[in-house]
Symmetry: C2
Subunit: 252 residues, 2 copies
DNA sequence: TTTTAGATCTCGTTG
DNA sequence: CAACGAGGTCTAAAA
């Protein structure tokens, strides 16, 4: 970890350009700046924390919010220059063409820190719920047989395609949280596509909850709804898997 | 700006708890931790930068990506404690109930920085485009008369509702960038709702571009498309406004 | 590269 | 507080 305090503009620029690929650079400073690209924004001059990451990410954080005030995503080219005695940090991105330009009036401290690059594995995602439901389709409807997952149709990818006990196609759309009307329209599209391609189909929305208007549309389009509690479901299935594993061990 | 280097756990905890409402706290450290809530994640032990904001936001950044590895949003309650000699940072949020717990094994530096709270005003948003189109509806179609903006229907809010030169209702959906098939389905819903409520309606999608599948659906549903160049449009209308202002001055 | 859809989306606005 | 929709969304995965 390297650290410089109250550096002169030239010193700061050299430090940033030398180390921008070596680790996370944190610049505690007073600056103002602009963003130009898909939209446009101006950052009023004030005290901010600038983060420059080795992957090209540039973030300017204030004292509020989880999201940066201005930023450029990974893959951007960041460079520090001294223009007319002031330190200027330029971040350029192509496709789409976007720029962040920061005029840094005063630098309190710059830190170079070799931060970790580990990614975090998330559990409890929609994909996890789909996996559980595929292994336990009776949760959706007794007698259901899963035909496919992420099945492509002309209207998009179906979370789960199944056959009910009468051999009719069932289209299942899964949401991990509150399903809104968009989810219902999504399901409706998929059902229409399957009906068109394979004759007849029913749709079932599986979610932790549903908004009132989504429920309204669900009835209007004659679609089904199955309420799940993702957390409890995860526990239950974890136990079931453990039980099954034990059984297998016994059988062996 | 306050700064402590290589603090002991007790010292670090005291510093964080004393200052967490006073400014942005940046902790350069080695830590591991967990997130539990809407989903679940485990952060492997490594060097990270922790940001604690006065509004309750907690961010853990690594060397990659624009988004934090784990985080808690504004409004969270953050507290540092020492448990069995190790510094532990706990962040709690209610509704939804979520927690981030970080076990900090080593602290290199903690900085308290009174970062600015200014918000950034964005230009070139969809709202800006809608405003321009309302003032210049001929861009959409010659002879168009705007009836309303953000008009509520049972299917949602219509960006622009207008009447064409024959007195037929026109539903306009605006996208500032590439319109995808969701935008087309959205427009279709609005047109259906207006047709149901007011007799007859046409739909026009106004966007900078359109995906191929969106275009396919557009034709299928017999909806129109008007391509705009938001940036050029903004310039043109800015000039026009200046011209109009001048005219008004002259008339006065 | 384009397209698609999820996300601990976040954030603002409205009822 | 719920609901709705935009966003410079970001991000990963698939075609």
């Amino acid at each position: 970890m390297l650290r410089i305090l109250e550096p002169e503009p030239r010193e700061a620029a050299a430090f940033i350009n030398t180390n921008r690929k070596r680790g996370l650079i944190a610049v505690f400073c007073i600056c103002g700046g602009t963003y130009r690209g898909r939209a446009a924004a101006d950052l009023p001059t004030g005290p901010y924390l600038i983060l420059i990451k080795p992957d090209g990410s540039l973030l300017v954080h204030g004292s509020e919010k989880a999201t940066p005030l201005v930023w450029n995503p990974p893959g951007s080219s960041n460079m520090a220059v001294v223009e007319g005695g002031t330190l200027v940090l330029k971040s350029l991105r192509t496709r789409p063409s976007e720029s962040v330009v920061l005029k840094i009036e005063r630098v309190f401290e710059i830190v170079l820190f070799d931060a970790g690059s580990s990614s975090v594995r998330l559990r409890g995602t929609e994909k996890d719920i789909v996996d559980m439901l595929v292994k336990n389709p009776d949760i959706i409807e007794p007698g259901l047989k899963v035909v496919g997952v992420e099945v492509p149709t002309e209207a998009g990818h179906i979370d789960i395609l199944a056959l009910d006990k009468n051999g009719e196609y069932i289209v299942v759309e899964v949401k991990r949280d509150v399903a809104d009307h968009e989810a219902v329209f999504q399901l409706r599209r998929y059902v229409e596509a399957v009906a068109k391609a394979r004759g007849r189909a029913r749709g079932i929305l599986v979610a932790a909850d549903i908004t009132s208007s989504a429920f309204h549309y669900l009835r209007e389009y004659n679609l089904g709804f199955v309420k799940i509690r993702p957390r409890e479901l995860a526990e239950k299935l974890l136990n079931k898997t453990e039980f099954e594993d034990t059984s297998i061990d016994v059988e062996k």
